[in-house]
Symmetry: C2
Subunit: 158 residues, 2 copies
């Protein structure tokens, strides 16, 4: 099977030290502050990032050691295919979160809206650009009417 | 250096066979249709995905063989740090695109808004959930006032 290899560009610093009590979505963690410490060798890649209020963080769920093709959110009645959920127990445990960029100090990004665990390897950072979002009618399938439960829940709620 | 390994869950089928002429953003490719062929072993993970109008596709820029810490979009005057751009020539060549999900036929996803190259390995699929986007004022730094150029440009424009 084809293997794709990446290397961390940095690591998350977060108040969450293990998988219990972590907000399940950045949107439910708006007041949680943390940092991204970028390796010095990549610091030049941060130029001009400070003009953006939000960034897209692509990171590795490093404490996830298993995966499942179905996921059962604690605030819903039944299983769903894992690709129709944001469960971390995915075939490739990659997280994508949009967080607030509060400031850039050299190679350290100060962020808020942190829903990542301390020590998570960061693979990529992209600017958040709302103009790239879909226009018009967006359908959210089985999540319709369940946003509050999703955004407010934390790991370990079950 | 720590290495993180992933395996493709499927591949992109797209009209773009090489790096020339590809829309630089999914938002500039709304009418371009393609598919994602998911490996049969992961098909069970697609359950309930068909209720979503849009999906987030995490994929590998497989034709990218170099990276740079700066990027110079052809429609802008100067270089920027690569993490402040969506250039594919990144330390970890990971793409994140939001595309329309037109339908699910077994293990094949019919999509539109395709800005990926044919054969790109797909690492993950997540539902697109607009409620997870930032609320309120979003600042887009050096991109302010340049969205049209960004969204309309294609690779090879320079």
């Amino acid at each position: 099977m084809e293997t794709i290899q990446y290397h961390p560009i940095g690591w998350i610093v977060s108040p969450f030290k293990d998988t219990v009590g972590v907000p399940r979505q950045a949107a439910g963690a708006r007041d949680i502050r943390g940092k991204i410490e970028i390796l010095d060798e990549f610091a030049a890649g941060l130029r001009d990032l400070d003009g953006f209020s939000h960034i897209v963080v692509v990171f590795h769920f490093h404490l996830v050691t298993s995966s499942s093709l179905t996921a059962h959110p604690p605030w819903d009645e039944r299983d769903h295919g894992v690709f129709a959920t944001r469960s971390p127990y995915r075939p490739n445990p990659i997280g994508v979160s949009i967080v607030c960029l509060d400031g850039v100090d050299g190679s350290v990004l100060r962020i808020s809206g942190v829903d990542m665990i301390d020590g998570s390897p960061v693979l990529d950072i992209k600017p958040y650009i709302p103009e790239l979002n879909p226009r018009g009618n967006v359908k959210v399938g089985w999540l319709a009417g369940k946003m509050d439960g999703m955004i407010r829940s934390c790991s370990g709620d079950r």
